[in-house]
Structures are given as structure tokens and as C-alpha cells.
């Protein structure tokens, strides 16, 4: 609180002092922007779904909301975000309950230097050594609070230093209850640095970073079964990495590698093996054609600023999943999430648009996309004859670089066709085959692997310039888990202000007849410039939402939801 008031004073002083005590100038030439969102729900009981007032915890009205405001005056900017969870919506961590200002900053910037005090989001390379970010839908925020300095001594060179601790819910930083994170990063665009390369066809950027996390406590007693382990811990855990991007006409190659020293933690059940992670991607593209192939290998690479955390939060780095993200309801029913303890993945995709006015492309052209991704375990062997794989207090296991294990965590093949027919009709057709290792991804050891065939048809019909209709038909067919699903949607949009939708997801193939439920939903929305209001009523099926290695469980619910978003 005191810090916050102090910041306000600093902002006011810094803005007003430097020779321009002209309040009008401070207001007139200032620029303000921001955004606002409120997600409110009125949960209802639903006998068929087994939702009682007890499962709603006696709090049927819930809301998550935030307002973020940024102020900028010449080289100076400041901002804050107010958040309120009163109480949090079902499916968000109850630890969010409360309201306050978890994010505020003051920043000064010129051509040479940028200094940020307070909270900040930063990413080194693709984030394998360091990334702080916020995802409202996911309920995730690991922002740093501290100091960041960016130094741009020469064109094409950016040096970044960060120092601070991370946000986790509303828990105040005290008594070393999380680590202090320090990091430096260098980013170099060779074509900007060397004049001789300015117009070269080959574009080269490279970078490197070093991150260290300090957590107090040199020893830990850790019981497993009837054994009590006394572990000595590294108080400083270092992680470093390098990256390279090459671009030559239509080709692009990117690679990033990171190494972490021993980091015994709850996530790896306190083994002392160092961690390694590497990713590659190669793409070729030209007008109407895009091809990409990528791969990654991760070995013991969870990196958190609290070694006892297994929940979502305090991640220092970011390990994105390799598979494609889906937005249709049924293809995203079984989402894959990165297994930071070890995985190896490959993905390839091709997108081709058959040009307009050709035999195959017809009058409007036709887009075809083919995608494949697979993730397996990595091969782990015991460090010696008397030690089990992953045994606490040991080096855990041996593995070779880029080893591939036998266990399949995920596989997906997808075909998507996008076609415009005449001036009025647009169609998207999808077919997917997914293999999902629920036991590993969701941590339910006894669940079988789920094999599913999924089809989606999405048709838009523009009645006139203002009125359009859209239909979605989806099916998911599997013999495992909850069996077959069918889904349908009908949407009416009156551009630019109104939309109405009616949808249903039906679990008709559930082996338990009482669970063959309809998850219907009716929604209406209004858009005015940058404000959107949506009111919906219906049922929400149970599911999980995943981004990167982070997933959030969404419990089933029934009732009204109101969403308001605005930006200014």
C-alpha cells in the first residue's frame, strides 16, 4: 500500500517537475489508453447435471473483473491494473478471491535506454529461459515486480536486464516465500548492426540469455513413504540459453537451446539432474504456399521460482506445446499441454491456396491445410542398478540427447478446407484424428488413451451487407472416455452491432444413459466501437483450457453469464 502511494507520488513528480509545471500540458499532451473486462455469472442448480447449491458453495453470483490504464506523457509512461474476484468464477483458483492492484509500473524511455520500475512482462527469445506474461482467460499471471532496464547502445542491439520477484495470486512477498529472479539477455540483428549486410538477402538475428533464481534454504527434509530424505539444495539455480534466426528469401530457420543446472523441486520429485531443452523450426513460404516443420525436445525443464509449487504459477520460463491450438468446441475437448518433465515432439504443416480463376480453385480460390503433430516420452534409463528412475535425491535418470521414448502422449492429423462459393457463402470443413494420453496429460493414471475422429462443418451465408447467418455442425467419435459427441450452432449477426447464437453439445454416446446430456446455450451480444457486451444462458460442460504448459480445469456449470469488454 505504502509502495503504491509512493509510486503515485513519483509519477506525479516525475511528470510535473522537469521544467513544465504546466498542468494543462500534462493533461493535453498526455495519452491514455486501457481496457476493461468483467465476467459475471449467476450459477443455477441443475439436477440432471448433479449441480446442487452445495457444489456452487452457496455463492451463486460470482465475478472476475479488471481495469487496466496506461498513461503516457512524452518519454514517460505509467500504468496499473485493478483486479477483482468477488468471488472468483468456478474453475479459477479460489486463492484469487479478493480485489486490489497486482500490477503497476512507471517507465521512462529514450532512444538509448528504457527503465521500468514496478511490474513488467518480458520474454527472452521464445521464452525457454525467461517469460512473464498474463492470460486473463487462463487466470494466469507471473509478472515480475522489480526493475527492468533495456539498453540499446547501437542499432540492432538490445540488452535487457531484469531483477525482481514474481506474482502469485495475492500472496505478498515476504520471508523468502519465493525466489528472487535475475536475468540478462542480448538480442542482435546483424543486418542492422553491419552496414554491409543491410541489403543482404540473408537476414540473421541471434541472442543469448542468462537467468538465475535465488531461493533461500540449503536443506530440506522430504518424506516419501516410510523414508525421510535429507536433501541439500542449490540456493541459486542458473539457466542459460542461445538462439538463432536465419531468413533467406522464402526460407526461415529458428533454433533455441537452453540448459538449466540441477534444480530439485516438487515438479521433478527432487532429482538433481540438470535440464535441457531445444527447439527447431524450419519454414518455406511463397505467395499462396506455406510449409513448416518443427521439433522440440525437453528434458527435466520445469523452472519455477518456488521449488515446492506444483500448481499453476511462478513459472520463470515458458514451454509452449507443439500442437495447433483449436477454437472449435469438439476439436479442443482434449487439449494437449507440455510435459516439462520430459517430452519430444514433432509437427509439420502445409497450407496451400489454389489461386482464383483456376480449374481447381474456381472463381474464389480454395485453401487446403494439412497438419500433423506427435509428442512422445523421452527415453529414461536408471543411473545405476540400485536406483530407480526418478528416485528422489539422485541424478534421477540417464537420457541421450534427442532420445525418443515409446509412450505416445499426443498425436493429431488434421485436414482443413476453406472455400468461398460465389459472393455470399463461405465454408470451412475440418477432419481430425486425435490420440490423447489423458493419463499423462491430466494426471489420471488409470484412464485409457483416447482415440477420436472429429469432423467440423462451418458455413456462413451473407444474406446482405448487414445480415449474415452461420451454422456449425460438429461430431466427435470415440470409444473411450465419455463416448460420442455431437454439436450444433446457429448464429445470426447484424453487422456491426448485434449477434445472437443458439448452440448445443450433446453427449449422446455416453455409456452412462443418465449422462447423455444436452449442453445447450443461448447468447446475445452487442458491439459498439470497442465495447462488447454478451449475455448467455445455458450449460457449460466440464473441460480443460490449456496454454503452453499451463492448464485450467473448467467445472461443469449451469446458469447465466455476462461478459463486458471495453477498450479505450
Amino acid at each position: 500500500m505504502k509502495k503504491f502511494i509512493l509510486l503515485c507520488i513519483v509519477i506525479a513528480v516525475a511528470t510535473l517537475l522537469p521544467g513544465r509545471l504546466n498542468a494543462q500540458d500534462f493533461l493535453k499532451n498526455a495519452q491514455i489508453s486501457g481496457s476493461f473486462q468483467a465476467d459475471a455469472a449467476l450459477y443455477q442448480t441443475d439436477a440432471a447435471m448433479g449441480i446442487t447449491s452445495q457444489s456452487i458453495n452457496g455463492q451463486p453470483i460470482r465475478m472476475n473483473g479488471f481495469t487496466e490504464v496506461n498513461y503516457e506523457y512524452k518519454n514517460f509512461s505509467a500504468g496499473l491494473r485493478f483486479e477483482a474476484y468477488l468471488p472468483p468464477l468456478l474453475g479459477y483458483d479460489p486463492a484469487y478471491q479478493g480485489a486490489g492492484v497486482p500490477y503497476w509500473y512507471a517507465k521512462y524511455r529514450n532512444d538509448l535506454l528504457e527503465v521500468t520500475a514496478g511490474n513488467f512482462y518480458e520474454q527472452f527469445g521464445r521464452g525457454m529461459t525467461f517469460r512473464t506474461y498474463q492470460d486473463w482467460t487462463l487466470g494466469y499471471d507471473n509478472s515480475m515486480k522489480g526493475l527492468r532496464v533495456k539498453f540499446m547502445p547501437y542499432k540492432g542491439i538490445t540488452l535487457t536486464g531484469v531483477y525482481g520477484f514474481q506474482r502469485t495470486f495475492w500472496i505478498p512477498y515476504s520471508n523468502n516465500n519465493r525466489g528472487i529472479v535475475k536475468g540478462i539477455d542480448g538480442d542482435f540483428s546483424l543486418n542492422d548492426i553491419f552496414d554491409a549486410l543491410t541489403n543482404a538477402k540473408l537476414k540473421i538475428t541471434l541472442g543469448g540469455s542468462f537467468v538465475s533464481d535465488y531461493q533461500a534454504g540449503k536443506t530440506l527434509t522430504y518424506p516419501i513413504g516410510d523414508k525421510i530424505y535429507s536433501l541439500s539444495l542449490p540456493e541459486n539455480v542458473a539457466c542459460y540459453g542461445g538462439r538463432l534466426n536465419l531468413n533467406y528469401s522464402g526460407f526461415n530457420f529458428y533454433s533455441e537451446y537452453a540448459h538449466k543446472i540441477n534444480d530439485p523441486s516438487q515438479m521433478n520429485v527432487y532429482i538433481y539432474k540438470p535440464g535441457n531443452a531445444i527447439l527447431f523450426d524450419l519454414s518455406y513460404s511463397r505467395q499462396n504456399l506455406g510449409i513448416e516443420i518443427k521439433s522440440k525436445w525437453i528434458d527435466n525443464f520445469s523452472y519455477k521460482s518456488n521449488r515446492s509449487y506444483t500448481i499453476n504459477g511462478l513459472d520463470i520460463n515458458y514451454m509452449p506445446a507443439i500442437n495447433k491450438e483449436h477454437t472449435y468446441a469438439l476439436p479442443s475437448m482434449y487439449p494437449y499441454a507440455t510435459q516439462t518433465t520430459g517430452e519430444v515432439g514433432i509437427a509439420a504443416g502445409i497450407l496451400y491456396t489454389i489461386p482464383k480463376n483456376t480449374k481447381l480453385g474456381g472463381k474464389n480460390g480454395l485453401s487446403i491445410a494439412l497438419d500433423f503433430s506427435q509428442v512422445n516420452s523421452i527415453k529414461k534409463t536408471p543411473v545405476n542398478d540400485s536406483t530407480g528412475i526418478g528416485q528422489t535425491g539422485t541424478l534421477g535418470y540417464n537420457t541421450n540427447f534427442y532420445s525418443v521414448g515409446n509412450e505416445v502422449y499426443w498425436q493429431e492429423t488434421q485436414v482443413e478446407i476453406t472455400k468461398k462459393i460465389g459472393k455470399k457463402v463461405k465454408c470451412v470443413f475440418d477432419y481430425l484424428y486425435q490420440t490423447y494420453n489423458k493419463a499423462v496429460v491430466q494426471g489420471h493414471p488409470d484412464d485409457p488413451i483416447i482415440y477420436s475422429n472429429i469432423g467440423v462443418a462451418d458455413i456462413t451465408f451473407n444474406v446482405n451487407k448487414k445480415l449474415s447467418l452461420r451454422w456449425e455442425a460438429q461430431g466427435l467419435f470415440t470409444k473411450q472416455d465419455n463416448g460420442n459427441w455431437a454439436a450444433g450452432l446457429m448464429e445470426v449477426t447484424i453487422s456491426p452491432k448485434w449477434f445472437f447464437s443458439l448452440q448445443d453439445q450433446w453427449n449422446y454416446g455416453n455409456s452412462n444413459a443418465s449422462k447423455q446430456l444436452h449442453y445447450y446455450n443461448v447468447a446475445a451480444g452487442f458491439v459498439y466501437n470497442t465495447t462488447r457486451i454478451q449475455l448467455a444462458w445455458g450449460r457449460q460442460r466440464e473441460g480443460i483450457i490449456c496454454v503452453g504448459g499451463v492448464c485450467r480445469y473448467v467445472p461443469q456449470s449451469s446458469g447465466f453469464t455476462l461478459t463486458v469488454t471495453s477498450s479505450f
Binding site: M1, F4, I5, I32, S33, G34, T67, E68, V69, S77, F82, G100, V101, Y121, E122, Q123, G127, R131, Y133, T158, D187, S189, N191, K203, T205, G250, N252, S285, Q287, N288, G290, I291, E292, Y318, P320, A321, K324, T327, I350, L351, T353, P355, G365, S367, K420, S468, T493, I494, S495, P496, F499, V527, N529, T530, R532, G548, T565, S566, S567, F568
Partner: protein
């Protein structure tokens, strides 16, 4: 805690007053001085978005965002005509994170889009411009001032976008 809430309410009210006042004096007018990346991975300062005195469209999108892709596909069908008629230039700012950022270039080329693509991998520009859910579209006049903004995409929205651009080119009021 109560104090913090009060301060925030006060600040928000203060900000909203200015953001919504008739002359919109404190509302964001220009693109903030934020470093993002171009499609080759080089640093690109967003304040340098420019079209030599002609209007600019900035569209925040991502490869996984269906309405965004629909909007950019719809504009792509008529983009050549728009450019010929008004000289407008569209910057498509991708907020794809490290998971999908490598798909952006093959996706854009594969779709046959000819926009200038920028990469905002950690949403730095998105946050600085107060962008909420995507897609969000901005129109800049010839002086680089933000004069229009809209969130979401509905079929036919692209007609509103070009109408605003045409008015700007003719020097008419867009109100």
C-alpha cells in the same frame, strides 16, 4: 486495501473523464513507442508505423483466432482495390505467442495475404494500446493519429473500415 480501491476508482474515473470527453484530449492519439519485431525477427518500433501521409489500418490478430482470419481474408479479397483507390496500407500485428509464432509467416503467405506483418509475441503493443479481445482494428489518418477503432469481426465489417478510409482520403469528417 480499501485505500487502494478508492485510489483506483478515483484514477479510473479521472481517466475515463478524459478518455470520453468531447475533444478526447487525453485519449491515445498516436501509436506508442514500443519495440516489437518484424517478420524477420528484427526489432521494429511501433511508433514508426507509417504510410507516407496516407491512412493506415492496424489489425491485431492471431493464427488461431477464427474471426481475425475471416476479417483478414475478407479484406484480402478486396485489398488490391483498396490500395489502388485510397493508398491505404494494412499492418497485421500478430499476437501469436511462442507456441504459434513460427506459423505466422507460412500462414500469411499460404493464405496469399500481402499485408505488412509485425510480431507482438508477448502482447507488449497490445497492452500499451489497451487492446482487449482480438480482433481489434484501428485506423490512422495521414498524420498517424488514431481516428477510429473497432473490436470483434462480423461479416461485412470490412465495408465500414473502407468507408472510414475513403472519408479520410477525401478529407471528410468520419463522425
Amino acid at each position: 486495501m480499501k485505500k487502494a480501491t478508492l485510489i483506483v476508482i478515483f484514477l479510473s474515473a479521472f481517466v475515463l473523464c478524459f478518455a470520453q470527453s468531447e475533444d478526447a484530449s487525453a485519449k491515445r492519439k498516436t501509436i506508442p513507442d514500443v519495440n516489437i519485431k518484424d517478420i524477420y525477427g528484427n526489432v521494429f518500433n511501433a511508433a514508426k508505423i507509417d504510410n507516407g501521409g496516407k491512412p493506415v489500418i492496424i489489425d491485431f490478430w492471431a493464427t488461431w483466432c477464427k474471426p481475425c482470419v475471416k476479417e483478414l481474408s475478407a479484406i484480402s479479397d478486396v485489398y488490391d482495390e483498396w490500395v489502388k483507390e485510397t493508398g491505404v496500407k494494412l499492418y497485421a500485428v500478430s499476437v501469436d505467442d511462442p507456441r504459434s509464432v513460427s506459423q505466422v509467416k507460412p500462414f500469411v503467405d499460404g493464405k496469399g495475404w500481402t499485408y505488412t506483418i509485425l510480431l507482438d509475441q508477448n502482447s507488449d503493443l497490445k497492452r500499451a494500446m489497451g487492446v482487449g479481445p482480438i480482433p481489434q482494428t484501428f485506423i490512422l489518418n495521414g498524420k498517424g493519429e488514431i481516428v477510429w477503432s473497432h473490436t470483434t469481426y462480423a461479416e461485412g465489417n470490412e465495408n465500414d473500415v473502407i468507408e472510414v478510409v475513403r472519408k479520410l482520403v477525401k478529407g471528410e469528417s468520419i463522425k
